[in-house]
């Protein structure tokens, strides 16, 4: 009501009013380039959160999982191919990536409340965190692993016999990478037993 008595129209009225000054083409062109800038900025910002530098900017990652990962084949190997944090923990396609990023925003709450801010707290929560991540990978048929690894691309000649046999058995049984390869780039939680390896003791 105040707007009606005022000389200046309200924001909503301003947005709804047809432009008397700019052509439709001008508005469309400006909107087009503005859209590109917005979208580019948004994606660049999101990609920045996919870098290893970003991931290890928190000591919780840098002092625990990152340290362990540095000793594994996904960090350093004969051929010089490196899988960084996001290569394994963030899906590549846009929709799943956005969903994962939204889920990951809950980790900020963990950071604020200091849920894993000491090595002891990290170890105490390692099993829960690992199981959550394994369940996510299992549900997606280990989609991040499969960006690089594929049963059909495994060479019978080049792969060692026993691993090849196990891989083909796994393929026939409809298993996925994470069914066997837990802890491939990080320490396993203490006391964890891989399925099928529990022994009569």
């Amino acid at each position: 009501m105040a707007n009606q008595n005022s000389d200046k129209p309200g924001w909503w009225a301003l947005l709804r009013r047809p432009s008397a000054k700019y052509s439709l083409l001008g508005i469309m062109v400006a909107g087009f380039f503005g859209g590109i800038l917005f979208w580019g900025g948004f994606n660049t910002g999101m990609e920045a959160t996919n870098t290893m530098t970003f991931c290890i900017s928190c000591h919780e990652m840098r002092d625990n999982v990152y340290k362990e990962y540095q000793y594994t084949i996904h960090y350093s190997n004969r051929t010089g191919v490196r899988a960084t944090c996001s290569d394994c923990h963030v899906p590549k396609d846009w929709t799943h990536k956005i969903i994962r990023k939204v889920q990951a925003s809950y980790e900020i709450w963990g950071k604020i409340t200091g849920k894993i801010d000491t090595p002891e707290k990290f170890e105490a929560n390692r099993m829960a965190m690992a199981e959550r991540e394994w369940a996510r990978m299992k549900a997606s048929d280990s989609i991040e692993c499969r960006n690089c690894h594929n049963f059909d691309a495994m060479s019978q000649e080049l792969q060692k016999k026993i691993p090849y046999k196990k891989h083909m058995e796994a393929k026939a049984a409809g298993q996925t990478c994470i069914d066997c390869h837990q802890g491939i780039a990080h320490k396993l939680p203490k006391g964890f037993k891989k399925p099928g390896t529990e022994e009569e003791e």
């Binding site: 000793y71 016999k161 026993i162 203490k190 390896t197 022994e199």
Partner: protein, 117 residues
């Protein structure tokens, strides 16, 4: 009879040493290392899989001179192993965090040799 105290002392020392040797095995750490390295995909503790059970290795080597070194060679050198079909391939080299930590390797070797029926 004069030798009796000396014999007893030797026996006591031997018992203390063997007990302390047993006590130095960190079984949980050894089991965690077997899980980390997927050992149990090919070896059972008491069950033969593609590879012999830990028990079979223990029974083959236990009490022999250089038993621990023999197991360590398997764990660390990629020694050739014979498969069921008669062919050979290199045994996986066990990885530790930090790398090549002989204390962890020795603990695992001792654990394997300690398996009882």
């Amino acid at each position: 009879m004069k030798q009796l105290p000396a014999t007893l002392a030797t026996a006591v020392v031997a018992m203390v040493f063997s007990t302390s040797a047993l006590a130095t095995i960190d079984v949980e750490a050894a089991k965690d290392l077997t899980q980390q390295n997927n050992c149990m995909q090919c070896h059972g503790v008491k069950k033969d899989k593609d590879g012999p059970s830990f028990l079979k290795t223990a029974e083959r080597l236990r009490g022999k001179a250089g038993a621990e070194e023999e197991v360590l060679k398997h764990l660390t050198s990629g020694k050739k192993i014979k498969l069921a079909d008669g062919s050979t391939e290199e045994h996986k080299i066990v990885k530790t965090i930090p790398p090549k930590d002989m204390a962890q390797m020795k603990n695992l070797a001792k654990y394997i040799l300690s398996i009882q029926p």
